[in-house]
Amino acid sequence: MQTLPLKPPQLTQHNPVVRATGLQKTYGQVVALRDVSLVAYPGEVLGIVGESGSGKSTLLRLLNLQESADAGTFYLEASPHDQQDLFTLDRYQARQVRVRHIGIVYQNPHLGLRMNHTSSGNVAERLILAGERSFGSLRRAARESLQVSDFPLGRMDDPPRKLSGGMQQRVQLAKAIALKPTLLLLDEPTTGLDVSVQALVLDTLKRLQYELGITMLIVSHDLGVIRTLADRVMVMRDGRVVEAGLTDQILEDPQHPYTQQLVHAKL
């Protein structure tokens, strides 16, 4: 590539809240991730795009501490473990970090929710895992989190299976942000929703971005979604990051041949 190499940050005062370096992951013969590194700064929204099989979902599973990497390190501003490579934690510690500091919204709500419990109960579960026991505070906190996620409170005691796809995503979101996580992972959060519902969910996410300042990592194959939400984008292919940059720069002046193809394939 024939552009100027970028300098390290000079003006930004903050340190990154997420730092992952050299991530590798192999499943049998398949190399899912090859030497992937990323940083995210406080309040930043980092988009990840790429075709199916490019390693996006694997990356998200590693960052959600569901699996450990074959190689690489992962640091998160997550007290009391902020000086520690999170891949070296034991199962109990990893679970604590996940409950307290990492929220996730899956494309498929079945992965994130108990479909037959009440919606408020789904959100409260997260708070119970974190040690909250009083029924009153649980109910209040669940309500607040659902409200912030623009969920219609009249339906907070309905189970997710009775809700529309858009509302199910809001319950997932409420659960994910109930404990104000350091990192919010979004895995194709609006894929499969009607376009009008998708727009409303995106609007909620946009608002959370500037009201709560949560650092987010969003995986999507929809470049429109990425343009709306992400400050920066990483383009993945065959388990590698082929290009990373400011969202408008990646979409308007892509450098790598693969990114040029990807961007120009958009309708």
Binding site: L4, P9, T12, Y41, S196, P257, Q260
Partner: protein, 236 residues
């Protein structure tokens, strides 16, 4: 006080699918002072917009420097870290384009208030300032709560200007903001730009009809048409 110092700035686009390289401009140098309004001129396709986008970093410059003296210190925009660019865009470098890219299901008021909300301004105050700004550009109040995706080109442009100019920047890049504006909105724009100039904002702008801003312009920078395209080795 110099605000921006552009030195030998060059931009090439490499289009891999065609195996071609497009070279809008090469070795461009100029300075912009605080409170100065510089007009970017040149024929269509010469690379005027490309220059603004290179400074805003929507495009990656190929070589050269664009040293910007920010309130936090000097930095070369041509190779600054993405996170520094994001910081500057949120606080002191503005870009006014020809088109609004409205988010579906976001009201005009919400879109205009957004830059302030991002900067940490409380919601009621941000909405109040957004309303004032829309009023200035002459968008009918009954449209404030409506979705700009359904607006006419002129109405969208009013929202776009209100949004782009609501926050006081130090450097403002203007890419033909008067296209599709009616007289009232052009007058409002001119008034706002004069106000910003008096406050010491540096303005670098492309105007299809320079007479729209004639009284504000201090000087110009002309971009010549380069040799159009260069074929390069095709990359697999």
């Amino acid at each position: 006080m110099t605000l921006l110092s552009v030195q030998h700035l060059t931009k090439h686009f490499q289009i891999h699918a065609l195996g071609r390289e497009v070279r809008p401009f090469e070795g461009l140098s100029f300075e912009l002072k605080a409170g100065e309004f510089k007009l970017v001129t040149g024929p269509n396709g010469a690379g005027k917009s490309t220059l603004l986008r290179c400074i805003y970093r929507s495009y990656l410059p190929t070589s050269g420097r664009a040293v910007y003296h920010s309130s936090l210190g000097s930095i070369d925009l041509a190779c600054a870290a993405d996170v520094d660019i994001t910081l500057l865009r949120r606080s002191e470098i503005g870009y006014v384009s020809q088109f609004l890219r409205p988010r579906p299901r976001a009201s005009a008021l919400e879109l205009v208030a957004e830059p302030l909300l991002h900067a940490g301004v409380a919601r009621p105050l941000a909405l109040e300032q957004a309303a004032t700004s829309l009023q200035e550009f002459g968008l009918k109040p009954e449209l404030w709560e409506a979705y700009p995706t359904t607006f006419s080109g002129g109405e969208q442009q009013k929202v776009n200007l209100a949004r782009a100019l609501i926050r006081p920047n130090r450097l403002l890049l203007l890419d033909e903001p008067t296209a599709s504006l009616d007289l009232a909105a052009r007058t409002a724009l001119l008034r706002r730009l004069r106000e910003l100039k008096e406050r010491g904002v540096g303005l670098l702008g492309i105007f299809h009809h320079p007479e729209d801003v004639g009284s504000l312009v201090d000087n110009g920078i002309e971009i010549q048409i380069q040799e159009e395209e260069v074929a390069v080795g095709r990359q697999a």
